[in-house]
């Protein structure tokens, strides 16, 4: 089962490799990982998407907590949360499909952020499923390149996750 975990860590030398090493060293799988500092510049927040049964997830949680550099671990699975990912997609646009690409972009409330005679670069933010759907539609047009940020998540409601 898929799990999305937020990890608050000390923003310090080597912390990313501690976390990723923990996953690789124990045969846990990372589907995506994004990381950036929080309001407090000494703290970073990672969002990790991983898969595994309950027993594996319990181990992942405990092992993450065990790292000295880890301040807090929250598994959002089963919680109410907002999930967003950013993707940049370079689509080749031969004359006959330029308009069609724009139409699709419009439907998804995506944006064209770079234009050349033969390509559009599209920016989209949304839940990963929405990005997947857009990609499906753009694929026949010819996608030259794609880059995804991996999702970030935040819990719904007033309660916040803090160190």
């Amino acid at each position: 089962m898929k799990h999305t975990i937020s990890v608050l860590v000390e923003n310090e030398f080597g912390v990313l490799s501690r976390v990723s090493g923990l996953f690789s060293g124990r045969g846990f799988n990372i589907e995506s990982l994004s990381v950036a500092p929080t309001l407090d510049p000494d703290t970073s927040r990672m969002t990790i998407v991983t898969r595994g049964d309950d027993r594996i997830l319990e181990q992942i949680n405990k092992q993450l907590n065990k790292l000295i550099s880890t301040i807090k671990v929250v598994d959002f699975t089963g919680e109410d949360f907002v999930e967003r990912e950013l993707a940049l997609i370079k689509v080749s646009t031969e004359t006959e499909n330029r308009a069609e690409v724009l139409r699709i972009v419009d439907i998804f409330r995506a944006k064209v952020v770079d234009v050349t005679a033969r390509s559009y670069t599209v920016e989209i933010t949304g839940a990963p499923a929405k990005i997947n759907a857009l990609l499906e539609l753009l694929r026949p047009m010819g996608i030259k390149e794609i880059v995804r940020s991996g999702p970030v998540v935040i819990g719904r409601g007033v309660k916040g996750v803090a160190g």
Binding site: G14, R55, K66, I68
Partner: protein
Amino acid sequence: MKKTGSQILLECLQLEGVEKVFGYPGGAVINIYDDLFDSPIEHILTRHEQAAVHGADGYARATGKVGVVIATSGPGATNTVTGIATAYMDSIPMVIICGQVPTPLIGNDAFQEADIVGMTRPCTKHNYLVQDIRDLPRMLKEAFYIARTGRPGPVLIDLPKDIQVASMKFSYPDSVNLRGYKPTVSGNLRQIEKAAKMVLAARKPVLYVGGGIVLANACEELLKLAEMTRIPVTTTLMAMSAFPQAHPLALGMLGMHGTYFANMSVTECDLLIAVGARFDDRVTGRIDSFAKKAKVIHIDIDPTTIKKNVGVDLPIVGDIKNVLSTLTNKLLERDDQIDELQEATQDWITDITTWKKTHPMAYKKSKSVIKPQFVIEKIRELTDDDAIISTEVGQHQMWTAQFFNFTQPRTFLTSGGLGTMGFGLPAALGAQVAFPDRQVIDISGDGSFQMNSQELATLVQYRLPVKIAILNNNFLGMVRQWQQLFFNKRYSQTCMDLPIDFVKLAEAYGATGLRTDKVDEVESVIQQALDTPGPVIMEFKVDREENVLPMVPAGKGIHEMVLAS
């Protein structure tokens, strides 16, 4: 007054109460060694950095204090890795200081540069690269705190040369402030209440005790709990010295080379109380038949050990000393029920007594050839109760666990988790540094001995009277045993058929060497070694193809033991 990084380092060590360090110099730590010249800290110069780490490890295991190591950058640092991994697997408190190339050169493949922080990340509890001298006191303070608290472990500090020579005004922090590290000390009271109820309801209880009991200094609490409830105790390799092995409640070791009665007790029990143990595969054998009739209570300071390998009915996270004494008190509140418990478990005790009678821990005695087990029994007879025994890894290690009736905590030093050959001699060295007046004996195989035999020089130089008993079978015996039993006696690369003159080797280093192949000389050789000042090698030419039994074949349940070959 300003102090340099290397002065600050040594001052911090003193403030942490460090009296002895183990190490080996080199270019990247030459400033530290210069300051050591005037420091009251005693430095033990081993002949290999791996041995320095095992030395500090033996020191830590024997005393409970944090062991300290200094090594130079590059090859010095990489030589420490096996030692660090050994300490990590057995949760030994240790701080390792490695020199590093100057910060501007890091990443340039500079001379003797190695990314030791990267290399030791998976085998340290935590590690640091010092990038600014202002961080040094805090990092040292944290390193010692992390190493000795919670589930202990090694912490490495990588200290670049430019930071050793930089200077600043020094002050040592009084406390640490680690947001992400707050080990749970007292166990959850409601959980402990539940545990008490489960204990009182049990009919066939067993205590399964691991190295955590020693690390937590909770052996007295264990004895008290066991005697009060009359629950039998089986110990892992790491806990053999934690419970008096001659005690009527002692079941000895469990697992792959465990006693028949320990393995049967665990298989048949209805309540397994795991204390500071981690359900290692060498203990459990085939996991789905391990203690499958039992409810499991698991007490450990480290939540990650709980439910890692087996399901647990009642987890209690906390310091074992604290949890066991609380549990004992909870039980004392119902002492009428304890009498009932003792009555109700009478049949169980009778079953176990029968197993002990029908399948005692034994070996075939011989008058013509020295049995390795016999040597171990004799060493036990002739040494003091507080003698410290270390081992290497192999058959001799298992026989020591099986036949040396330990009585006192911290008297058995062995590499359990990593199983590192070459550990025993330097570990014995470290223990002797800590206790110059106690008997310290390394029980060794001829193979393992040769992995760190250079440490004879260190023993002689520092007048450390470690006695080394080599049970020489001219084989890598444990591997040979597997080849005999599971590979049709194809002894591939396990026969060490170059006869080495260990007596001459001892003499070359200025130590004493004794040798015998006669059964009736075993006792006198041991006695002579104990009476001889300084380090002594005793070489016993033992039965070459003796096997460690019982044995649980790989993939089998622990009740499916091979009892005779």
